[in-house]
């Protein structure tokens, strides 16, 4: 009632509501989530900042085109459940996206409120609102499966239960097709489970989202590595009319430095998998070990590097150094993650680059040698190229190193399905609009196509693929 009276000018004057968080000191002693989430009141105030722009530039910034003004309006009206349902028309995983999407690069970047207040940080906090309604629905409302159309008798196999695969599973199932998801690991979620830490995305949320899919009739089969137990051809020759390949990130990249195979040197994938999927932070209560890390160097400047550094702190490290060869402005990580990492005590060694790892007599890493860098001319990415400063080498003492410079592609499916074309990095080539591969009946999306990208981009490709799969199954035309 009251909010309807607000003029656009008044709305623009409402300051952004800031989410309360665990203090840095508290949170490095646990693995609980850092922000607490909005209260109902905070959410309604934040929602009332939205101008309900007719042109909705925010929607254009969203890879899955959520009807953002509509879900925010429902929050203003106090219909939180309705708001969550509105989002779920286009995004099945709002509790996850609300937490891990880079909104400042997407919907919030184009928000008129942010533009008027001359800072993207002052935009309507769409992601935090999305998180609020998704959490509200999970906590307060009866789970209900969305409407499923009458069975078509068609079957779709999805390879990988990560963000792309789960999105396709929901969208294809809704059309009445049978869906089986083949997951290589013993738990669903892909990077949401093995990669993104508990303190950024509680695993219970992922599990509940997967339960919702199962309630819709999606079957998830664990411990099934496609390319090994079945080939893609066997799936197509057998029960399945279409296959969606979403196998995710592949082999970790290393820097080809001397000493990278010393004991105590991890890829970020391994370090995070041990900590998250295998819960090594509870060792010896759990059985998967992780090395004792007092002084740790993390190489890289992306979100995964931040996750690794912050996880190391929670595992009891005293000094966590983040070594990045460019300056802060070029860091690919989200500002929020960099900020959290810094608050928690991660020490940023910027414009520095590791040159070799030095081991002790027993083969354990004990030092990292780095060289100072300076920024030169812009490179292909538009960022200024870092250039080593001669004779500026120095060493830091460490007992563990986490290399977080990205992934190459997983070879299992391309190796066993040569008629699926890949690019020179081994990523599957898929049509940008339909996600069709070079092989009839096979679609692909997520990191196996994108290289290393984000959860929401993987979901965006999943949505496109699902539209094309549904079309292919109804027309039979490739």
């Amino acid at each position: 009632m009251e909010e309807k009276k607000l003029t656009p000018k008044e709305r623009l004057e409402i300051p952004p509501q800031r989410m309360r968080e665990q203090t840095p000191k508290d949170r490095i002693g646990n693995v609980e989530e850092v922000p607490f989430g909005f209260t109902e009141e905070e959410a309604r105030i934040e929602a009332s900042r939205c101008l309900q722009c007719k042109t909705a530039p925010c929607v254009q910034g969203c890879p899955v085109a959520i009807d953002i003004p509509a879900f925010i309006k429902l929050i203003c009206e106090g219909d939180f459940e309705g708001s969550a349902k509105k989002i779920k028309e286009t995004n099945i995983l709002p509790a996850i996206c609300g937490r891990v999407c880079p909104q400042e690069e997407q919907c919030q970047k184009t928000c008129v409120v942010g533009k008027s207040r001359k800072s993207v940080d002052e935009a309507v906090q769409i992601g935090k609102l999305e998180r609020f309604v998704a959490d509200y629905q999970m906590k307060n409302c009866k789970p209900e499966a969305p409407h499923i159309k009458a069975s078509t008798g068609k079957k779709v196999a999805i390879v990988g239960a990560g963000p792309a695969g789960l999105t396709v599973a929901a969208d294809v199932r809704r059309e009445g097709h049978d869906v089986t998801v083949f997951e290589a690991l013993h738990k669903p979620g892909g990077v949401l489970i093995y990669g993104i830490p508990e303190f950024r995305l509680p695993k219970a949320i992922v599990e509940r989202e997967v339960e919702n899919l199962e309630r819709m009739g999606v079957e998830v089969k664990y411990n099934m590595v496609i390319g090994k137990i079945f080939s893609i051809d066997e799936l197509l020759d057998g029960d399945y009319d279409a296959v969606f390949v979403a196998t995710g990130a592949g082999l970790p990249m290393f820097m080809r430095l001397e000493g990278e195979n010393l004991n105590g040197v991890y890829s970020a994938n391994e370090f995070l998998t041990r900590a998250n999927l295998m819960k090594a932070y509870s060792f010896p209560e759990t059985d998967t070990p992780i090395v004792k890390l007092r002084n740790v160097a993390v190489f890289g400047g992306g979100n995964v590097a931040m996750d690794s550094a912050r996880t190391a702190l929670r595992l009891g490290s005293e000094n966590v150094y983040l070594v990045y060869r460019r300056s802060r402005a070029e860091m690919p990580a989200r500002v929020e993650e960099v900020h959290h990492a810094e608050e928690e005590g991660v020490q940023f060694l910027l414009l520095q680059n590791p040159t070799r790892l030095i081991g002790d007599e027993k083969g354990w890493v004990k030092q990292v040698e780095c060289i100072r860098m300076e920024l030169g001319e812009p490179d292909d990415s538009g960022r200024r190229r870092p250039v080593p400063v001669e004779n500026s080498e120095f060493t830091i003492d460490v007992d563990a190193v986490i290399v977080s410079i990205g992934n190459s592609s997983n070879p299992l499916i391309p190796d066993t399905t040569p008629d699926i074309e890949t690019n020179r990095w081994g990523n599957i080539i898929a049509d940008e609009v339909t996600m069709k591969t070079s092989k009839k009946g096979v679609f692909a999306g997520g990191d196996i196509v994108l290289g290393a990208a984000t959860v929401i981009l993987a979901m965006g490709q999943g949505r496109l693929a699902a539209i094309a799969i549904n079309e292919y199954l109804s027309t039979g035309e490739w």
Partner: protein, 274 residues
């Protein structure tokens, strides 16, 4: 799923386990492995497939109790299920007729050597097996290996069975006999594979070794299993487990295998006191 059909104790520390796994049994080829997990809090460990029957739908593992997971596995009884079992993983052994193949198995390494010997023999090779163990009771699967081989040589460190000495002594004996060996496949402790490779390099005999490194996912994602082969980084789970024995950096591999020795001991001690 993953129901245990049979468990046989071979020595106090080694047992064989037949597990119902029809999908894996149908697909597996010589040289491949599985990863299993025995409890909700459990770790993932790789174990090589020792035998399988596609028609009956089972696989067989030969397991040495070396840590908590293998200990817990040894406590499971027929009728119980293994929580998670995934496979077959890794690239199968490249099988072709090359002439005379010597398959060397050391200790529990004899188990994964068995399907390789079977397949190599079936491909028309003359198959000689060398089985080695510290003592008589550690020379396992002798009957199965005999069935898969044209000739079997046995060595024990203490001389309690077969010839006293190491598998490399038996291999040297074959070489000294003037036998033309076209391929050696060695599966066993890293130090054994290292010395077999050193010997065969001297005589320029092509040699394959099957590596058993630490793994987490085992599907080409984490990189825990990386080894240096011919100066390049390779991943045992997707590039292996078999590599050219003359090109493997054994020292680095052995050192990496010790990475969790302290924690493994802590875990095992706790497990035994419980």
């Amino acid at each position: 799923m993953n129901r245990i059909l049979e468990k046989v104790s071979v020595t106090p520390e080694i047992f064989t386990m037949k597990i119902e796994a029809s999908g894996i049994a149908k697909k597996r080829k010589a040289g491949q492995f599985i990863i299993l997990r025995v409890s909700e809090k459990g770790e993932r460990i790789p174990l090589t497939i020792a035998d399988a029957d596609a028609a009956e739908g089972w696989i067989e593992l030969v397991v040495q109790i070396v840590g908590k997971t293998t200990k817990l596995l040894s406590l499971l009884e027929p009728g119980e299920e293994i929580l998670d079992l995934v496979g077959p993983l890794g690239r199968p052994t490249h099988i072709e007729k090359v002439g005379t193949v010597v398959v060397v198995g050391g200790g529990v390494g004899i188990a994964p050597a068995h399907p390789i010997a079977q397949s190599m023999k079936a491909a028309g090779n003359q198959l000689i097996s060398i089985l080695g163990g510290r003592s008589k009771d550690l020379v396992i699967m002798e009957e199965k290996m005999r069935a898969a081989s044209d000739r079997v040589m046995i060595t024990t460190d203490d001389g309690s069975y077969g010839m006293k000495g190491l598998v490399t002594d038996a291999l040297q004996k074959l070489i000294d006999e003037g036998l033309k060996i076209d391929l050696v496949v060695a599966v066993g402790p890293p130090v054994m594979m290292k010395f077999v490779s050193l010997l065969t390099k001297k005589y320029d005999i092509q040699t394959l070794v099957s590596l058993n490194t630490i793994m987490v996912d085992g599907t080409g994602m984490c990189g825990a299993c990386r080894v240096t082969v011919a100066g390049k980084m390779k991943f045992v789970c997707v590039d292996g487990p078999e590599f050219d024995g003359h090109e493997v950096d054994y020292e680095e591999m052995m050192q990496r295998q010790c990475m969790y020795r302290e924690q493994e001991k802590e875990s095992m001690d706790r497990c035994q006191s419980e």
